[in-house]
């Protein structure tokens, strides 16, 4: 029991990123409000970023700026660099999705998925 808890504590980044992932995915699936769907999408993305960045963390490591003579450990910069790209992508997807929601609101006067479905006559969104 204590062993499991200890391991959970040591891998808490992974654990909480999975929790976040589930929260995000759940938000995305269960909410009808399109903005909330996008928020869920963002939480999901963030959880993956957390997961990815946690991979590169070295216990006791510092930011990987080379200083002459310093002998301490550095964290792995590659995941951070990759995730920066991931964040850029998430930003653009979010902005695009929001602009689509603006358009949908203009067409239907609502941002509720069920309402839109009803207005369209039965087909699912």
């Amino acid at each position: 029991m204590t062993d499991t808890l200890l391991r959970l504590h040591q891998n808490s980044y992974y654990f909480f990123s999975i929790v976040l992932f589930i929260i995000g995915f759940h938000t995305m699936l269960t909410h009808n409000n399109l903005i909330k769907k996008i928020i869920g999408m963002n939480i999901m993305d963030t959880s993956i970023f957390l997961f990815f960045v946690a991979i590169g963390y070295v216990r006791g490591g510092r930011a990987p700026i080379l200083e002459p003579g310093a002998g301490h450990a550095y964290i792995n910069p590659l995941p951070s660099a990759l995730i920066l790209t991931g964040i850029v992508v998430a930003v653009s997807v979010t902005a695009y999705a929001l602009s689509l929601v603006v358009k949908l609101y203009r067409h239907y006067g609502t941002i509720d998925a069920e309402e839109i479905m009803r207005l369209r006559g039965g087909e699912t969104l």
């Binding site: 700026i65 964040i87 850029v88 902005a95 929001l98 602009s99 603006v102 358009k103 203009r106």
Partner: protein, 145 residues
């Protein structure tokens, strides 16, 4: 919004935020940060300005048209540097091999093409964020971006 405190404070803050953004962009090859972070900081200053005054005041400083031209320009700087390396006879995005001066590591002007590329990315990100903000705020008319 007609709030004197918000306006006054943002008027004081905006130049510093912009300076910080530029600092992060220009030191992209030396320290954490770089084009994206710096560009986002810079864009935040413009968005703050437009929010605390109003949209027309914001667009007076940096119009929608200019920001969408800059958007293309920033990306073109990046691709152009890569292609320049090809012209100089190395692989795409080659740096030292293409003959860009590397300078002394740790100095501001070092790293060859990386600094120029980071600057291009900074312009691109800042103008994209601003354009996105304008487009979402304006809605109709300029909604094609």
């Amino acid at each position: 919004m007609e709030d004197i405190i918000v306006r006054y404070i943002s008027r004081i803050i905006v130049p510093f935020v912009q300076l910080y953004g530029l600092y992060v962009i220009l030191h992209g090859h030396l320290s954490p940060g770089g084009g994206f972070s710096g560009g986002a900081i810079f864009a935040a200053s413009m968005i703050l300005y437009a929010l605390s005054f109003n949209l027309s005041a914001g667009t007076k400083k940096l119009s929608h048209d200019v920001s969408s031209v800059l958007e293309s320009g920033g990306a073109l700087i990046f691709a152009g540097m890569g292609l320049l390396a090809v012209l100089l006879g190395t692989n795409f995005l080659g740096n030292r091999a293409a003959g860009f001066p590397l300078g002394i590591p740790g100095n501001l002007f070092s790293g060859g093409a990386i600094m120029v590329i980071t600057f291009g990315v900074g312009i691109k990100v800042a103008s994209t964020m601003i354009t996105l903000f304008y487009s979402l705020i304006e809605g109709e008319g300029h909604s094609h971006d």
